[in-house]
């Protein structure tokens, strides 16, 4: 016990003279105060933090685990947020997948002229950020004689179609074996029963592992707070598709599920001036998409990646 007494009387607990006559304890006290002040200064940019999630938002459950009441309440809350920010009352829905429906998309390579109308129709429909611009569709200008995307160009300008080139729009391929959903550490992205790969923007943690895993460069991340002018807001919106997004989360093409689950075509298809874009239910033998798969020369992009896309390319011949 004598030893322990000594410990308490040890120089660790007593001031020790330093060169300038300042004791160690005084020095440490000043250092601690300085450190606290410096830490406060370091954190000062946080005063500009505008969007602090409420407790309710913070604790919101995964979309697939919400009860119908909770869903209703959340849709109400998001509608109110949209109304406040954009001055428009949205028609926000959370349509479930339809039974007996497997959606698929087909693109006629012989007809596409690379006009990029689909790119911008998609942006208008899906309330993407206008600054920075987020596009779900990339239109590749390919050199004739190659199906190699490495020799393609997305930055082409001027009149289209250009001689010696053909055009290949690429968007989310809604794979049957999507690598993006497999790698997500929190199951914030998954494949719905009708084949549409979706993201829960309120569950995504923003690690961007899915973007690294996607062979089609289909995923888009909100690196900045999305900017959407009030007059550009599309008030017809779905929870899993085109409701306004937040900074720090992933988004992507959803086959316009707020439209397609209500029996309409995706926006990119409707706007296409050449009729290159076809969409429908694979399980319906009378559908256009089923006829294309049956009768046309169809191929898929990057078949060797084993993703089994639901997005097909075909030619008329």
């Amino acid at each position: 016990m004598a030893d322990e007494k000594d410990q308490h009387d040890s120089p660790y607990f007593h001031p020790k003279p330093y060169g300038s006559g300042v004791t160690r304890r005084q020095f440490l006290a000043v250092a601690a105060a300085g450190a606290a002040a410096a830490a406060a200064a370091a954190l000062s940019p946080l005063k500009d933090l505008t969007q602090i999630p409420t407790l309710r938002q913070f604790l919101q459950k995964h979309y697939t685990e919400l009860t119908p009441e909770e869903k209703k309440e959340i849709l109400g809350r998001i509608s109110a947020e949209v109304r406040e920010k954009y001055g428009v009352t949205p028609h926000l829905t959370a349509q479930p997948p339809l039974d007996g429906v497997q959606f698929a998309y087909a693109l006629n390579m012989g007809r596409c002229i690379g006009c990029r109308k689909c790119v911008y129709a998609c942006v208008n429909e899906n309330n993407q950020s206008r600054d920075p611009q987020i596009h779900y569709i990339s239109v590749l200008e390919m050199e004739k004689g190659a199906v190699n995307v490495e020799t393609s160009n997305t930055d082409y300008e001027g009149q289209v179609p250009k001689k010696g080139h053909y055009y290949m729009p690429v968007q989310c391929h809604h794979c049957e074996k999507p690598p993006c959903t497999k790698v997500c550490p929190v199951k914030a992205t998954w494949r719905e029963p009708d084949g549409i790969v979706v993201v829960d923007y309120n569950w995504c943690i923003g690690c961007r592992y899915c973007a690294a895993a996607c062979p089609y460069h289909a995923r888009r991340f909100n690196f900045k707070e999305p900017y959407l002018p009030k007059e550009d807001l599309n008030p017809e919106m779905g929870y899993l598709s085109n409701r306004p997004r937040q900074v720090g989360v992933m988004e992507k093409c959803t086959f316009c599920l707020h439209r397609t689950r209500a029996g309409k075509y995706p926006a990119c298809l409707e706007v296409c001036p050449t009729g290159s874009r076809k969409f429908g239910n694979l399980l319906d033998p009378d559908s256009e998409i089923a006829a294309i798969i049956r009768d046309k020369r169809v191929f898929i992009l990057k078949q060797e990646r084993g993703t089994i896309p639901r997005f097909y390319y075909f030619t008329d011949v």
Partner: protein
């Protein structure tokens, strides 16, 4: 329990005490950490748009540093195996510094992946059900979370237990730590394998989709880690009373020698496979090594890395590096070379060109760089603080019932008190041998 508090309290007192150089070093690190915190606050407010990352290059310096540091953490195993499996004498007294480095490295790893998150407040979504939706076993990221935290726990426990026993001047009970030491060997390999799988499992990225990645990661880890530990040990024996024999350095030199050779061999193997008959997937390697269509942001970096690694391997193979001066130089080159090669040189080329053939280069922003500097500074801060408390425990000065040094008792050059040997310590030549070596 009272003793444990005393252990913690006296260790904390030890961390707060030091000469002006110690205070200057720690204050400098604290300032850099705060600069990083400041930059992170800016990123929290404005989003990851404050970085140089884009949808094309969606991972950058954060993930590059994370990858490198997982290797640093795993490297402790290169000391644990010789000591606990082969009962290697020279490394015996220094193995604990590897375990302590692992702790600091994992803390940095966790910080680097955290600052990379777009919505850090949602990390609780990673909790297992029913709370979160942890995607285990599908997502390799979920495996990484498990193995990294497990490795942190194992090393903190083993090092903490051994230091505490040393503090109490008790013989550590083998049953209480040897199983964890053996587990740590497998676990160390697992953390770096899982981290490699995180990349090499992605068929979308041909640059990563290669079965050589996990072996390459281990080889580069066992190059940079032990090289870094050599440098740490040099500083410990320069600035503290803890005596470390040259034999320990030379044994680690052997490890680095072999590892760097394997690392460069594996890199060369991959280089050959990509470039001998370049197919469309060779573009990433071409971008890295020679530039692609006029874009060559990484070319100077990778050639610098290879050049200094070449100097490092030459020095390590020559007898010259038996002298500590040349060994230190070789180690600095090995660490920096691997940091470039498996950090930026591994993460970024996988995204350039992107899967649709577009070339968008990546240049980190100042804010992003400051965050990286801040995390590194914080890691060094933690490592220094841990060493500050661990060294006097290992020398036997800081112990239960010991007589702490006083100003009157005299200080060694550099403000380091002369170690006070308790009963059972016997000086042997220039080296002090402690009575209860851990691990025996």
């Amino acid at each position: 329990m009272f003793n444990l508090f005393k252990f913690l309290r006296l260790s904390a007192a030890e961390v707060l005490d030091g000469d002006w150089r110690y205070y200057a070093w720690m204050s400098g690190l604290a300032l850099l950490s705060l600069a990083g915190l400041n930059a992170y606050s800016v990123q929290l407010v404005h989003g990851l748009g404050t970085t140089g990352m884009s949808d094309h290059v969606s991972w950058g310096l954060y993930i590059a540093n994370f990858t490198f540091l997982v290797g640093m953490a795993a490297a402790a195993v290169m000391m644990v195996i010789p000591v606990y499996v082969y009962h290697d004498e020279p490394l015996h007294d220094v193995v604990i510094f590897g375990e302590l480095l692992a702790i600091a490295s994992i803390v940095m790893c966790i910080l680097f992946v955290s600052v990379d998150l777009g919505r850090p407040e949602r990390v609780w979504h990673m909790a297992p059900p029913p709370l979160g939706k942890f995607n285990w076993p599908d997502s390799m990221l979920s495996w990484d979370v498990i193995v990294l935290n497990g490795y942190l726990f194992i090393n903190a426990y083993v090092a903490g237990y051994l230091l505490y026993m040393k503090f109490l001047r008790k013989e550590p009970l083998k049953i209480l730590y040897i199983p964890f030491v053996l587990l740590s060997i497998v676990w160390a390999v697992s953390i770096h394998t899982v981290t490699a799988f995180l990349y090499q499992g992605l068929a979308a990225r041909p640059f990563w989709h290669s079965s050589i990645i996990a072996p390459r990661f281990l080889a580069s880890a066992f190059t940079a880690g032990p090289a870094f530990i050599i440098l740490t040990l040099q500083l410990i024996r320069k600035f503290t009373a803890y005596r470390i024999a040259d034999a320990a350095m030379l044994r680690l030199r052997n490890v680095v020698q072999v590892a760097i050779a394997i690392n460069l061999f594996l890199f060369a193997s991959e280089l050959f496979k990509e470039l001998y008959i370049p197919d469309e997937h060779a573009v990433h390697m071409q971008y890295l090594m020679f530039g692609l269509h006029g874009h060559n942001g990484l070319v100077p970096w990778i050639w610098t890395a290879l050049a200094i690694e070449a100097v490092a391997i030459a020095l390590l193979m020559l007898p010259a590096s038996r002298s500590m001066k040349w060994l230190n130089l070789a180690c600095v080159f090995a660490v920096v070379g691997v940091w470039i090669e498996k950090g930026m040189g591994f993460i970024i080329p996988a995204f350039i060109p992107n899967p649709l053939g577009e070339i968008v280069e990546y240049l980190p922003t100042l804010n992003e760089t400051l965050i990286c500097v801040g995390v590194w500074a914080f890691g060094f801060f933690i490592y220094t603080a841990i060493l500050k408390a661990a060294v006097p425990i290992l020398t036997g000065r800081l112990r239960l019932g010991g007589v702490p040094y006083t100003a009157e008792a005299g200080m060694e050059p550099g403000g380091i008190p002369k170690p006070d040997f308790g009963a059972g310590f016997r000086p042997q030549g220039a080296r002090w041998v402690d009575p209860g070596p851990p691990g025996r």
